[in-house]
């Protein structure tokens, strides 16, 4: 009887950032990114369409308020709300899930402000073309939940996506915030590693705002 051959070379697998391969260290920061993509967008989208549907948008039409003032005035409270959400979720991560922040807090904080501004602007864009609250609610749901859960790196790393999934992922702010959230929490990263992602995230703001302004007419036909 021949002995079973021993392997002639070893493969030393190193699970980086997460030695025990526990999903909590990847999922908790990912949840933070997910929630901050969904809630601010849905609330923001409804905030504008609500006025259209219930008729109070006449205030915008008849007063000398500009469209930009109107939209920013709507957006700022939701950014503040989003940051309050961030504070709660950050505390829960540390206190309840025991997921420590290994990297730079200031990088995470700055990125979160930029991110929440971008996701509220995403909701704003949807609200600019939807006419009814149902359409705005379903629109935000389908246009945020799907890219957020499937194409932003939660299930599959963005570097592996192809085809339409890749395009949808690239056009969604969460794809750029997820590496920041996971990076600061679990990979222990700081500003130098994350500057590109924060910068890309910031580009969403003027782009989405401009599109919303173009779509929101001062006077409904």
């Amino acid at each position: 009887m021949q002995p079973v051959a021993l392997p002639s070379a070893d493969v030393a697998v190193r699970f980086k950032y997460n030695q025990n391969f526990e999903s909590v260290y990847a999922m908790v920061p990912a949840q933070l990114a997910l929630e901050l993509a969904l809630w601010p967008a849905i609330l923001m989208a409804l905030a504008v369409v609500r006025e259209k549907e219930l008729g109070s948008i006449t205030n915008l039409y008849v007063t000398p308020v500009t469209r930009l003032e109107f939209l920013l005035g709507k957006q700022i409270p939701y950014i503040a709300l989003g940051m309050a959400n961030f504070a709660i979720m950050f505390t829960i991560s540390l206190a309840v899930f025991d997921v420590p922040l290994k990297g730079s807090f200031s990088a995470l904080l700055l990125a979160s402000v930029v991110y929440v501004t971008a996701t509220t602007a995403y909701g704003m864009l949807i609200s600019a073309f939807a006419r009814t609250q149902i359409a705005a609610l379903f629109g935000t749901a389908i246009l945020t939940v799907l890219p957020a859960t499937m194409f932003a790196g939660m299930m599959v790393p963005v570097s592996s996506l192809s085809g339409m999934a890749r395009i949808m992922g690239r056009l969604f702010p969460m794809s750029y915030f997820l590496p920041i959230s996971v990076g600061t929490f679990t990979k222990g990263l700081g500003f130098p590693d994350l500057a590109v992602n924060i910068g890309t995230l910031a580009l969403f703001i003027p782009a989405l705002l401009t599109l919303s302004l173009l779509l929101l007419r001062k006077q409904e036909s």
């Binding site: 079973v4 021993l6 070893d10 609330l43 629109g139 389908i142 939940v145 599959v156």
Partner: protein, 373 residues
């Protein structure tokens, strides 16, 4: 009889207001076409296109063979990188796997010194890292064994393992993810349409118009269920025939009418939940938040992303009450394995019972809410 007629005509009112909302119509079409195709392409359930970086410090025939063995579709063509770039590139999430082959690796293998190859895995990319590191290890050991057997005839393994994958021979996750995409769209749309149909009438005050007519709250609720359910069933049927079977070319093993029957039962449940939430929410933003609270757990814990068997026992037990879980297993049984009514009747029954329960709950609240506006 009169009740049935009332329910029917009230439902057509729902349909008319749905058809007039072009943005909503467009979004529904998107949810059952482009969104399904994109999900079919995303391949969330398998290792596909995983990014690999390689540091070859050996430059031997063996090291080149190992690197060449990382092939599509599982892995992207490996990119050579410098050793000092491993950390920054993995920090940036550029590569999920980095293989580091040490100097003199081939010589040490031949000399029987058992050298080690380092396989760095980004363990924050959970699914891909978990399955992919197994594949990568397998590929490396196979290459080393083949290399040796050519040069010195290493003993062959005494047992051969032949894997037979049943029901989905190419383990294509597009089969899987497209159907799961449809199920997610059903849940999303049913809850929102039914919930919003109630909230809208409350916000506009038209619920009062309905109440002064000779109609019962039951008739109002049922009309919303059938009309919104009807829209969704039509969308699902079209999506299965034209998008899943037609455009994606995915074979459907079982009976589509039987699946649609299951979908109808599930819609009954989902619209009942929607109605219930509609009676709880006082405004559309509230409904939006409630919807997220209900939808995310239903969808994320439906068993389509993570099998129930891998969840903690208590969670798996609770989830037995979730019709989404039963609908997912019903859909898989019918569409992939060609199961008939005798196999799936239990899931169908549980879904209907849960739907009935929520409808009763929604009706109780509905009566209270509409009579105390």
């Amino acid at each position: 009889m009169r009740t049935l007629a009332n329910i029917f005509w009230l439902g057509t009112k729902e349909l008319r207001s749905f058809m007039r909302d072009f943005v909503l119509l467009g979004l529904v079409i998107y949810a059952f076409s482009l969104a399904i195709i994109a999900q079919a392409q995303s391949r969330a359930q398998e290792v596909y296109n995983a990014s690999v970086g390689t540091v070859d410090e050996d430059h031997s025939e063996l090291s080149r063979r190992i690197i060449r063995a990382f092939l599509p579709p599982y892995f992207q063509t490996p990119q050579p990188i410098n050793e000092r770039d491993i950390v920054p590139l993995m920090n940036a999430g550029r590569y999920t796997f980095v293989i580091d082959i040490p100097p003199n690796f081939a010589r040490d293998v031949l000399a029987g010194r058992r050298p080690a190859i380092q396989l760095n895995v980004d363990a924050t990319a959970m699914t891909q890292a978990g399955i992919g590191s197994g594949y990568a290890e397998e590929i490396i050991t196979t290459e080393v064994r083949n290399f040796l057997s050519r040069s010195e005839r290493a003993p062959l393994s005494p047992v051969n393992l032949v894997v037979r994958i049943a029901f989905n021979p190419n383990i294509e996750s597009a089969w899987f993810s497209s159907i799961m995409g449809i199920i997610n769209s059903i849940t999303m749309l049913a809850i929102i349409l039914a919930g919003a149909a109630v909230v809208r009438e409350r916000e506009h005050g038209t619920l009062d118009h309905l109440l002064v007519m000779p109609l019962t709250p039951f008739e109002i609720a049922m009309s919303k269920i059938w009309a919104n359910g009807f829209v969704i069933i039509v969308a699902v049927a079209l999506s299965l025939y034209f998008v899943v079977r037609g455009l994606l070319g995915i074979p459907i093993a079982g009976s589509v009418p039987l699946f649609l029957l299951g979908a109808a039962a599930y819609l009954f449940f989902a619209t009942a939940i929607g109605l219930f939430l509609g009676t709880v929410a006082r405004s559309m933003p509230q409904l939006g938040l409630l919807y997220l609270l209900v939808y995310l757990p239903l969808a994320m814990l439906s068993g389509s992303n993570t099998p129930l068997e891998s969840m903690p026992r208590w969670l798996a037990t609770i989830l037995q009450a979730s019709p989404t879980v039963h609908f997912v297993s019903l859909a898989q049984a019918i569409l992939y394995r060609g199961a008939g009514f005798t196999v799936v009747w239990r899931q169908l029954l549980i879904t209907l019972v849960m739907g009935g329960l929520f409808l009763a709950l929604a009706l109780r609240r509905f009566r209270r809410v509409v009579t105390t506006v």
